[in-house]
């Protein structure tokens, strides 16, 4: 996969920058004046009590929602409005809380679908399926098999994903996101519903993705142990506002964060 430093941004510079973003739905404010950045190559955790706006934040970065105020800057370019397709194209991949896999397709096909952006050959060659189209298909299949080996899901790759247990589905979804070779990977509660062993596996994969592929990762997570172990920096949201931003240790001992989680009125 690609080495770090290829995305046009120097190491340790901000890959993604969220500036004063406010988002509301018909009068209900989901996000208010949120600003933070994500540095290249780091694992950034986004935490906060339920309803704090974490998923909405990812949806804004992804292009699903357009904020009423504020701006997203990705890879040095300001993006006033972005559709999900454009986000994908510029190097942002995403997984979802409720696992948005293509249920009718096998695990292998789902991950191959993730290579869509990278495949170039048009209709004519695909019909004939010889020469350029076939070469391309095989080359991408190789990449996908690498990902499958990496995530240890080779034994289930021909099974329609609708039949897989939840934990494996989440792994397939991660595989599909990785197949896009993204610069920024957004993970929405990747450990939700997993037991201890599955969480350890997933943590290992995430760290491997960061270290081997150099992918920058933003991670929404509720399990504090995971957050502390995996992340380089943490941003905390509560009621749509940012209330803390720093290293895991700094955030853990911040009184505002403790109050938010304990539900102390503020």
């Amino acid at each position: 996969m690609r080495a770090p430093g290829d995305s046009g941004v120097g190491l340790d510079a901000a890959l993604l920058s969220v500036d004063n973003v406010s988002l509301s739905f018909g009068g209900v404010a989901a996000l208010t004046d949120v600003s933070f950045d994500i540095r290249k190559g780091e694992v950034r955790a986004i935490i906060g009590p339920n309803g704090a706006g974490k998923t909405s934040l990812l949806n804004v970065v992804n292009g699903f929602y357009r904020p009423q105020k504020g701006r997203i800057t990705f890879k040095g370019e300001a993006r006033p409005r972005m559709r999900p397709y454009e986000a994908a194209r510029s190097g942002i991949a995403r997984t979802f809380q409720n696992v948005a896999l293509f249920r009718g397709m096998t695990a292998l096909d789902n991950i191959m679908a993730g290579r869509s952006l990278k495949m170039r050959r048009g209709l004519f060659w695909q019909v004939l399926r010889i020469g350029p189209a076939l070469t391309e298909e095989v080359a991408h299949r190789r990449k996908v098999e690498d990902i499958i080996d990496f995530l240890e899901i080779a034994h289930i790759r021909r099974i329609p994903v609708g039949r897989l247990p939840y934990g494996l589905q989440k792994r397939v979804e991660l595989g599909r996101a990785l197949a896009m070779e993204p610069d920024l990977l957004l993970l929405d509660e990747p450990m939700a519903g997993m037991n201890l062993e599955e969480k350890e596996d997933m943590s290992r994969y995430i760290l491997d993705v960061k270290n081997e592929f150099g992918t920058t990762i933003a991670l929404i997570e509720h399990d504090m142990g995971v957050v502390m172990d995996l992340s380089d920096r943490v941003v905390v949201l509560d009621y749509g506002r940012k209330i803390a931003d720093g290293t895991p240790d700094e955030v853990r001992s911040d009184q505002k964060v403790i109050d938010a989680y304990l539900g102390v009125r503020h």
Binding site: A88, G104, A113
Partner: protein, 354 residues
């Protein structure tokens, strides 16, 4: 015992991705195709050709088209009849006004015309989904039907409103026996089926099924819904248009717009449902089913020696179709194709239980 994969190892991805990875399957299909090309014309009588083989093959092409749109890409369409009409009338007009043009080119042109119309009527699918889209496709069906009935240019100002096709020559050979027609239609069917299979296995096929399963998720991995849906409409209409041209020229000989009415649309949709949504093989099986059942039903009273009127037979036909649709949806929503696949699975361990 016969149908085992033992010893068949795939040493390359190309081999793994082949249409028929199991050697026995490959042989079987090759034998079937060889027989269809060589053996059948020698053996099949005129009735078998014109009443069974030719309709099944032509309608299979239409079913493949609809399957691509509805089965693979998830866009429900009740406009199949209308697009067949576009193909038929386009081919008729080309053959009429450019009589020296090779007929195959005329048919391909018909497909392209249908494709353009299909993309036009497919544009609404970018905004409209599900049942609403089904109703919107009815607009295309009824509008196209009306167009060919009223705009006199299409029928060459014929006072009766129907058109007829004269003698058909291909490369100098007159195509005037059922066996010859069967061969021409078979060629089309085999080539088009192969092309379709390649498409659905590749990148475009994945784009289609991704859009069907969850078009929002498809967008975030970089699949543009516009691209996926319109390409599905385009390819689908191309196939359906060619099927319409073949139907008009080789099955009907002369026709009016009624031959491509809403009942035709339902007929092809039933083929796709019964045969199996999202399966090329299913398109053939469904077409065979829909063509054979009425024939069997009409022969039944004779075998059982019960006098029944033709009207009653067509009503009973409706009942049987309706009941079969419901039965398949309850018992095996993936249609005959799944039944076939399950049978093969069982065959793998035959004669042992597992």
């Amino acid at each position: 015992m016969l149908y085992r994969e033992v010893g068949q190892f795939k040493t390359s991805y190309v081999a793994d991705q082949a249409i028929f990875p199991i050697a026995q399957d490959r042989w079987f299909v090759l034998l079937v195709v060889a027989f269809a090309l060589v053996g059948m014309p020698l053996v099949a009588g005129d009735y078998l050709c014109s009443e069974v083989l030719i309709p099944v093959l032509i309608l299979s092409i239409a079913a493949i088209g609809l399957n691509i749109l509805t089965g693979y890409c998830g866009q429900v369409s009740l406009g199949t009849g209308g697009f067949m009409a576009v193909g038929a009338y386009a081919a008729y007009n080309v053959a009429l006004r450019l009589p020296d043009l090779n007929l195959i080119v005329a048919f391909l042109f018909a497909g392209v015309m249908a494709m353009l119309v299909g993309v036009l009527f497919g544009l609404p699918s970018l905004r409209i989904k599900g049942f609403y889209l089904a109703v919107a496709t009815l607009a295309s069906q009824f509008f196209l039907e009306w167009t060919f009935a009223r705009v006199k240019w299409f029928t060459n100002y014929a006072p009766s409103g129907s058109v007829a096709v004269g003698r058909i020559d291909l490369f100098g050979i007159p195509i005037n026996t059922p066996q010859r027609i069967y061969l021409v239609v078979l060629m089309f069917a085999v080539v088009l089926a192969l092309a379709a299979k390649n498409l659905v296995r590749g990148r475009i096929g994945r784009m289609w099924t991704a859009t069907r399963d969850m078009d929002i998720a498809a967008e975030i991995i970089g699949i543009r819904p516009l691209h996926a849906k319109l390409s599905a409409f385009a390819v689908s209409s191309f196939y359906i248009g060619i099927a319409g041209a073949l139907w008009g020229f080789f099955r009907l000989g002369s026709w009016e717009p009624l031959a491509f009415d809403i009942n035709r649309s339902f007929q092809v949709l039933f083929m796709v449902i019964i045969g199996g949504l999202g399966s090329i093989l299913g398109s053939f099986l469904g077409a065979a089913f829909i063509v054979l059942v009425p024939i069997l039903l009409s022969q039944l009273p004779r075998w059982l020696d019960i006098p029944v009127s033709t009207a009653t037979i067509s009503h009973v036909e409706s009942m049987v179709f309706g009941a079969m649709i419901v039965f398949f949806l309850i018992a095996e929503p993936n249609g005959l194709a799944r039944l076939w696949a399950t049978a093969k699975e069982k065959l793998r361990s035959w004669p042992f239980p597992y």
